[in-house]
Amino acid sequence: MPFQLEFLWTDILIYLLLASTLAFTFYTLRHEHLRVPWRQVARRPMAMASLVVLAVYVVVGLMDSVHYRPLLEIRNQAERVYSNEVLSLLDKLTTTLRTRVEKTYSAPFAVQAYSKETVEYPDGRHAREYPRLTYGGAHLRNPQDRATDIARRTGFAALTGIGLWLVSVAGFLWWWRGSAESWNGAARRLWRGESQIPWRAIWVTIGVVIVLAANAASLSPLYHIFGTDQVGQDVFYKSLKSIRTGLVIGTLTTLVMLPFAAVFGIMAGYFRGWVDDVIQYTYTTLSSIPGVLLIAAAILSLQVYVGNHPESFHSATERADIRLLFLCLILGVTSWTSLCRLLRGETLKLREVDYIQAARALGSSHVSVMARHVLPNVMHIILITVVLDFSGLVLAEAVLSYVGVGVDPTMDSWGNMINSARLEMAREPVVWWSLASAFVFMFGLVLAANLFSDAVRDAFDPRLRK
């Protein structure tokens, strides 16, 4: 094999999360009563448009979660030597972005460097001027052609994107149209938004995404569309890599804390007595420590551990990954308490309900009552918390990285990009593109997550149901 698969800890957890999400989806699809609230979510145009955006982020994040080490050479026919560098599928797809490193900063779409350099001409003259970039716009013979070149390529990419979109819409119509319905009728129905599921909103969003992606695909190999950072790395590539970090923090944290919150919350409410006292004491203690400080304390301890045990980590990627996982764990510890409290309160109410009393009277064990009767009835609370927490966690990552207790400084994350932007904003002329890029990518994800979670909450919260 020309490569060796590498499973980082967070990768494994992501696969686990993906598997459980798929299992949950299949389970939901087969049970009518679970499908009802989801159908309500599916009727909200805003929610479905957000879902499309979220799906794009998730696909990028998943591609960045398949890691491997490329083969360097084969020694003595049998022994294979693999690179120390861990790459992902996304890295492979964006090789042009990753390897085209400039010397230092350059503005978006620039063909010349950000700072002046002394250039020596063949005839021996020296001059201070902005040198051409090694890669950005290198295909242009004359820098003045840049505007026309970009316009031409944008137009071409947009047309390709629209063409692709039209083909997919046609494919969709073929599947969607009733057997007796004409193509025109189906298209009109789609255009007017006359459908239970807001297909119009979904397809408009997909169209926008396709056109943007086509533009990025056609322009980014030739220019640095979001500029380059201090060491000349493409900012667009860094933003793409940051997606995984954001998603991991937002989802794995929840995955980590969910079992604790569910088991302890339900146990506290169900058994009451000393079990309740112990669990309540535990979460009150944990929640009374200010979150940032607890995280800081824990990350500091981890830093000391990593610093004293360098032999346990083979590569920088692995070290950064452990830190990311640990951050998820500690964020989980600080955030499980509120869910636990909610679940305890709900279980306290549920345990007095007739069907639970009946289950007990019929001889069901405590474990089976909790798992089969209580848990499904508090599922909506868990679900609402999970989706509502997501955007908060993505935002928290940025703040924590800024404070210095977030992800590893070598890891691509929006927090680290913002952190470095602080100094860049003070430069003259202002280096604004790192910040802008982090803003755009982060805002897209968080806004989509917020809009989607609103719809989920409205659909699942019994208090809001009419």
Partner: protein, 325 residues
């Protein structure tokens, strides 16, 4: 009432003991003092003597929990746990890893923290309630919809962007106020104006939306219909009846943070160069000063628990139905 407060304060003791044990475990069991010394002295080529000296200077050379060499009560008191953790209960914070008196630093830095956190808190609440009232007044109209959309959009922007954007726009482009710094007395105003503005604006999205939901929940209730039936004007209904009743859930979220205002805001203070407890904590984190972080964790917990007690007391003041017992 007083009996209740005393009981609540007594309940706080086991929780604080828990916090204390937890931080102790985190700082001394996960990493031994030797590890800390090595990190501080830097590198692998640290001599055992240097480590011993580092520990001795800071009093970390004692056993963790039990000292068999001590005499009498010294078996328990001549330990790291007693000297570095239990002392926190009487707010004796000891010395930081680079030798400064933490208690003195905290007392000094508390006031700049308060100077920025208190205005943000007060102006913030007033502004957010006003905006929420406005949206509730125009509920169902385009203004309301636009307002809610704006709230969601503003919620989706990280605080860091507000800070960096505000600094760039107001300080660097318009040159209205200095970028960062702090001064005592009247001069402080020009340094505090921007942080307060940024603090209030960054909170608008989430708070306004939450308060609007709370107001709308109250507006649907019977007593509001009665008030309208009596012929009260909409404004009177909103301010005299709805606001008063919606205050109860608002207070839950708000009163808790009052004591924590002392510890300041990590981000604001470090961005705007205000010498408060927030930047103190960040500096301690960056220089890996465990003693300061430990002290701040404990102080934060004490203040948080105080906030919870305050919340319960406020409940009785605003809601006559709640009787503390």
């Amino acid at each position: 009432m007083i009996a209740y407060i005393i009981r609540r304060l007594l309940y706080a003791i086991p929780i604080l003991i828990g916090v204390n044990l937890l931080t102790f475990a985190l700082f001394f069991f996960v990493n031994s003092p030797d590890d800390m010394a090595r990190v501080h002295l830097g590198g692998k080529r640290v001599t055992p003597e240097a480590i011993e000296k580092w520990k001795q200077d800071r009093g970390y050379d004692k056993p963790l929990l039990y000292n068999p060499a001590g005499a009498g009560a010294g078996k328990l008191t001549d330990t790291i746990f007693y000297r570095h953790s239990l002392r926190l209960f009487v707010l004796e914070f000891g010395r930081s890893d680079n030798g400064r008196n933490i208690g003195y630093d905290i007392r000094q830095r508390m006031w700049p923290s308060l100077a920025i956190a208190l205005p943000i808190f007060i102006v913030g609440i007033l502004a957010h309630i006003t905006f929420a009232m406005l949206l509730a007044f125009f509920r169902g109209s385009y203004l309301d919809t636009a307002g809610v959309v704006l709230c969601v959009v503003m919620m989706s922007v990280s605080t860091l962007f507000y800070v960096i954007g505000g600094q760039y726009l107001v300080s660097m482009l318009l040159r209205l106020v200095p970028v960062s710094g702090y001064d005592v007395g009247v001069d402080a105003v020009k340094f505090l104006a921007l942080p307060v503005l940024v603090g209030v604006v960054s909170g608008i999205g989430a708070s306004t939306r939450l308060y609007r939901t709370l107001f709308l929940e109250e507006i649907g209730k019977d007593y509001v219909r009665t008030a309208r039936a009596k012929g009260l004007s909409e404004l009177r209904v909103l301010f005299r009846h709805v606001l008063k009743n919606a205050m109860i859930p608002i207070l839950t979220g708000v009163v808790v943070v009052i004591p924590l205002l002392f510890t300041g805001s990590l981000i604001m203070e470090s961005f705007f160069g205000i010498p408060g407890l927030g930047s103190y904590t960040i500096d301690a984190i960056n220089s890996q000063d465990f003693a300061i972080v430990r002290a701040m964790v404990f102080l934060g917990s004490v203040l948080y628990i105080l906030g919870l007690i305050l919340t319960d007391i406020t409940y009785t003041l605003v809601d006559p139905r709640v009787r503390l017992s």
